[in-house]
């Protein structure tokens, strides 16, 4: 296994995922296989190659800094699991 159980649990925490005890073994196995598979990239000769970010090597376009959107808060919040007075509700974070 190229990844340990602890490493996988750390990755899950970074990704804000919770792995059930009975699935950790399977996740470690499959993620290790994926990492082993992509490891073949290490052998490729890439000295001096410019990494590709956009397939047409196009830069990021900027727009003028002007207001273009309408206020549609109510429409958007209709999809929220919990709102009150136009605010999104989450569990208490400050004692």
């Amino acid at each position: 296994m190229s990844l340990s159980k602890d490493q996988v649990q750390h990755i899950a925490t970074l990704a804000r995922l919770r792995l059930a005890d009975d699935e950790v073994g399977d996740v470690v196995d499959k993620l290790s296989r994926i990492v082993d598979f992509v490891d073949q990239l290490q052998a490729a000769a890439t000295d001096g190659v410019v990494p590709m970010a956009h397939p047409l090597n196009q830069g990021q376009r900027l727009r003028a800094d002007v207001v273009t959107e309408r206020d549609e808060r109510e429409r958007f919040q209709a999809n929220a699991p919990a709102v009150q007075d136009g605010l999104y509700l989450v569990p208490k974070v400050i004692e």
């Binding site: 804000r16 995922l17 990239l41 590709m52 209709a78 569990p91």
Partner: protein
Amino acid sequence: MSSDGCALHTRTLTELAAGLADREFSSRELTEALLGRINDLGDKLNAFITLTADEALQAADHADKQIASNSAGPLTGLPIVHKDIFCARGIRTTSGSRMLENFVSPYDATIVERLNQAGVVTLAKTNMDEFAMGSSNETSYFGPVLNPWDHTRSPGGSSGGSAAAVAARLAPAATGTDTGGSIRQPAALTGTIGLKPTYGRVSRYGMIAFASSLDQAGVITRSAADAAMLLQVMAGFDERDSTSVDHPVPDYSAALEQPLKGKRIGIVRQHFDAGLDPSNAKQVRAAIAVLEAQGAIIKEVDLPNLDLSVPTYYVVAPAECSSNMSRFDGVRFGHRAKDPADLFDLYCRSRSEGFGAEVQRRIMTGTYVLSAGYYDAYYLQAQKVRQLIAEDFRKAFADVDVIAGPTSPTPAFALGDKTDDPITMYLNDIYTIGANLAGLPAISVPCGSVDNLPVGLHLVGPHFAEEQLLNCAHRYAMATDWHTRCPEAYR
């Protein structure tokens, strides 16, 4: 006025457009006929997640008024289905995930808006691999789609519902998205035509993101002319998509009939190595011979880094996926876990409950390759290899106009066959992934049959060569009848 309603489902978009223009039937009659067919046969294939019958009939009535007043456009009143990855205002949009099981989109994707404005009638939203992450449609929270050619087999993925719906004549055309082959592979496995345009050609706005530097919207149809008709409306610059490319949109139907005489078609040496099913190889070679018989010049080309395309993809795509999926936090929209102990617990449980196993695997792979200490070794290295792969294509296109080869290594595989090993599933996209990495347009065209299962011919062109691909696909289809074949139970 009313025509033989049961024959309407056998017609292509182009044929239906002629029928509407000739007042042979109305858009309402057409829409009712197809909705009836979807009701009778749709459940069997599990091709749809949401039916939009009321909206469809309203749109059909509106279209009929436009037709009556001679203010109709080329697509007015024609029915299609949308992959459920495209946001449609006021309609549930799930992306095949429990996370968005109850999400009603507050806005339209650009392509939905453009097709609506063109008068298209949307019949349904199609089933798909969860967040388009899969090659078999088995990762959908709403269950797998069955292949209309053989119900024990996969229609491919991730646009499996769209491909199955078109193959089974439940809709004449469908939209799809393609990040590593998700339009072309299901098209090949169901005997339909699947077009993935150049990266940036069609707006990604309102298309739920998987891997933003690879994702591109396209179509699944039963003829190249139909694909041209839809692309005509979908293509074009959109300021709401920051990676949209501002490039003129040609008349995609204009070049369809052009003779292939002198067209240089490249065959990739590495495509016919081990890994390609010999029966598939035979059919693809026969298809290339058909193009040659029409005057095309066949040349061998090299894509030396082809073998690295799948590993490159499985670094780049999960990395972008892990970033994109971070928006699902159980706070603003989407699934939320019950009774969270604290905010961290709310995030973790909402995401673990809302995402399926494959999506979680890709998020974790992406998180790993982007994490401190691994970024250079994996992500940066993959972006460099991606440049090499794109360079291979650039060199090949100095010698040839189009590259032809297989779309997938085998015909449709059995459901459950590849779900145990992610790598086996990933390798299914070996021939299609390169076009996404290099941002190239590509099309899959039905070109044969093995044990009564369709085989696809894959054509790839340089950036913005959609016209050429549609031309080759059309000329090939005119010389053969594979694209007209229909699974027996759906005739």
